[in-house]
Symmetry: C2
Subunit: 449 residues, 2 copies
């Protein structure tokens, strides 16, 4: 490996497909119950590990309606799934999504610490605040939190989880059989926190892993979301459509990290992308078009359009009248997304039907082409400062195999991607530092003073 | 297998030891980090599976102090652990402890349903209410709930989880590629619950497993605890010291189940016990005595005595003065246990030192002896109507091997225990019925009317 910038690669595993994917389950390569079949996930994770990917990535949601896409309707819970993958793999990182809006800091800290030990230091947490307003009802809340509250809560939550992860210093357990000393109690530190959103008194009942703490990813594109990423994100999951937009986003995130007193090299921007590899660029575009046809479904797209607006029912409106006036609808939900749709309709003066057609038009991903083309574009984005890596969504196992067998070798040849894992931990492979235990740091500082 | 009553066997896996065990970690057979080493658990679970045990059983707690026993200080979270065991085993049941006092019904339902699918229908939930008052502080609560609230909440919680598990009927997913039908929306049922302790609106986003729903175990011996067991327990985890006490307990539990309108055959009483196998009865007693010496530690026992009283600090009292007056201390904590200690001290007029010595005196388990003796006593308890099986805690792997190689064959020979698994699910092996989806039942009833 030269000292040129290094690409990080993650595989987003989504069973029967992602948010807009109504048709993936019909593909003969994808079992209809892929999203609840652990063997399916084990196979995909092992394929990604053979290709030396940094990590697999499990996205999540909890609230569903009958109109939710197949993968959403019926899926495995991320941490339970990742723990199973931990013992079926050896080196690949395991990143799972949990929401700071509906999970308790103590439980989140404990479950990720457990995964981190089970996997030998390969765990990562994708921090989200939950977009679906309906999630509130699943947890006995009257209303979903607004953006300010959600992101304020998220920041306090993550910092609290990180403090809980430092409950034990690395030398807390002498386990000295001769002297009969299992624990050194001076190395156990109870958290004593009273904040705006949480109170926690007591220590976490689990030690640190070989990577010190799980890696923090963050997903949320609004101004508040980016600021959270700048404050605590070590990996940023985002969507960016062009190299220019990517560079602007990455510059922004790095600047926010610096403003929070952090080294920008410890914030990796890793957008989620779709990749299609063909024999030629035309062949790849034809495969992409076929995927578009598989997913096309006007009625389902109309229903799905309601999601960023709290699953608003658009079918009550005339399809050929101007896109309806929605007022503050969506402000508590996926606001960034909802605002973009409102703006699109207003600026271009679209009807409801035209909005559905625009939103659900087959995507043209920038990462579609022959192996050479895909490798070249990856490298351009990396060298252009638009990304530190990609979270790749690949539709089928045969497509993944093409990426692994054809694109990865080119990236290795040019020194952009690893040939062998550098480390046994996710931090080690991503090139992120191991956070030293804060109490050890404080004691050393006190001794020096 | 004859039609004589069948013994169920579970293995309680506790890494470096159970509640009173200060010394297990010093045993050369037990790694000092056993409680956080997934490979250790995988080995124990596979050994239990080779012996055709019904299940492994993971107990749990969250609140610790520096005086907590080794296994408590530093352990893996039960569901994360069991999910890893699910892919490392094939037939054995996987029962984990989660508290109804601090976990949300939706999260509990989702995590167990996920484990149930990952394991192909082998999951069980041990329902507890958490004894340690300090747990409240970990979750931002001012005070631990009192018994009435805890058990009222537990009953509502479990019933709600079971309703969430029925969100999808078994035929909810036609996944018909020809007709393009993934979901049959008439087979998806949102929960709409407003109760005393919980509100939940919405369906669970995961299908039922081959066993319909995870098996419900329950642990809690007070009057309220038994009533909960009678209402919802399919397996009862308890401690019983004699065949007479066991029979009285089992009769009581079965009567309570009948009072709740249930078939008593669907409530299995499975006490937790310690087993030691020796060449002869004397040899076994000598091994037990050696274990007692390993665990003996007056100061730690004094500290540990405080646990049922909310980790009350007894070291502030004169050891040779009468056991202190404690008033209502312990009423919100492990009350059954705390009351028993108060009664013991009062009735026998003991000093604090004598109470510690009595409580921490090496236990004499009834299940200690040669393989023939242990097999005979097991059979006596079963035939005597005191138990439906045992949750066995065995100190070391070599002791477990003796149980598997010497005791199990005798139990198989006499037809008391299986030679091969009867089923692929935990319910199938325990002989418990698969609960039919309530919405399917209701529709059939409506059609018949
Ligand atoms: C790339 C990306 C991935 C996301 N993945 C998830 C997810 O898996 N689960 C989830 O609940 N929310 C997810 N979110 C949603 C965010 O957590 C957030 O609630 C939502 O996007 C609205 O916030 P925003 O306007 O800041 O983006 C994701 C957001 C982005 C941008
Ligand atoms: C055999 C047995 C095992 C138990 N195991 C656990 C456990 O693993 N975790 C836990 O928090 N509580 C456990 N409990 C505690 C109960 O959930 C309950 O909170 C405590 O025993 C006080 O209730 P009780 O007086 O009804 O027994 C257990 C209780 C019994 C009797």
């Amino acid at each position: 490996m030269t000292d040129r910038r290094r690409l990080r690669l993650g595989a987003v595993l989504v069973g029967t497909g992602g948010p807009g994917s109504h048709g993936a389950w019909k593909d003969p390569e994808i079992p209809g119950d892929a999203s609840v079949d652990v063997r399916w996930y084990v196979e995909q994770a092992r394929a990604a590990e053979r290709a030396r990917f940094d990590h697999v990535f499990i996205v999540d949601s909890q609230f569903i309606t009958p109109d939710s896409p197949p993968h959403y309707l019926n899926r495995l819970e991320p941490l339970t799934l990742l723990s199973a993958l931990a013992v079926a793999t050896e080196r690949i990182g395991l990143i799972g999504t949990l929401s700071t809006s509906y999970d308790e800091p103590f439980s989140v800290a404990r479950r990720f610490a457990s995964l981190d030990l089970i996997s030998g230091g390969r765990a990562g947490w994708n921090v989200v605040t939950s977009g679906d307003e309906g999630t509130a009802g699943l947890f006995g809340r009257d209303q979903h939190l607004d953006y300010g509250q959600r992101y304020g809560r998220a920041l306090e939550h993550v910092r609290l989880v990180q403090r809980l992860w430092d409950s034990y210093e690395d030398d807390a357990f002498p386990r000295d059989r001769e002297r009969g000393v299992f624990l050194d109690p001076t190395r156990l530190h109870a958290v004593d926190h009273v904040g705006e959103h949480f109170r926690v008194h007591g220590p976490l009942n689990i030690q640190r892993s070989p990577q010190g703490q799980p890696v923090i990813f963050q997903a949320g594109d609004s101004d508040q979301g980016r600021d959270l990423g700048g404050a605590i994100g070590e990996g940023i999951f985002t969507h960016q459509g062009s190299i220019e937009a990517g560079r602007a986003f990455r510059d922004d995130l790095r600047a926010r990290a610096v403003a929070h007193g952090r080294d920008p090299e410890t914030v990796l921007v890793v957008p989620g992308i779709s990749v299609v590899v063909g024999d030629t660029d035309e062949d790849a575009r034809a495969i992409e078009a076929e995927i578009g046809r598989q997913d096309a479904d006007f009625d389902r797209s109309l229903a799905q359009l309601g999601r960023p607006f709290g699953w608003y029912d658009f079918s009550q409106h005339d399809l050929d009248a101007p896109f309806p006036e929605l007022g503050p609808l969506g402000d508590r939900s996926f606001k960034t997304n909802a605002d973009a749709i409102k703006r699109l309709a207003r600026e271009q003066g679209l009807t409801l039907r035209q909005v559905v057609e625009t939103i659900s038009a087959p995507k043209r991903s920038p990462f579609v082409g022959s192996a050479e083309t895909v490798a070249r574009i990856f490298t351009e984005w990396l060298d252009g400062g638009a990304v530190d890596g990609f979270n790749i969504h690949i539709r089928t196992p045969s497509q993944f195999a093409r990426f692994a067998d054809e694109v990865v070798p080119i990236l290795q040849e040019t020194g952009v991607f690893r040939r062998e894992y550098e480390a046994t931990t996710l931090r080690g492979n991503l090139g992120l530092p191991i956070p030293e235990n804060r109490h050890a740091v404080a004691r050393r500082a006190a001794l020096a003073a």
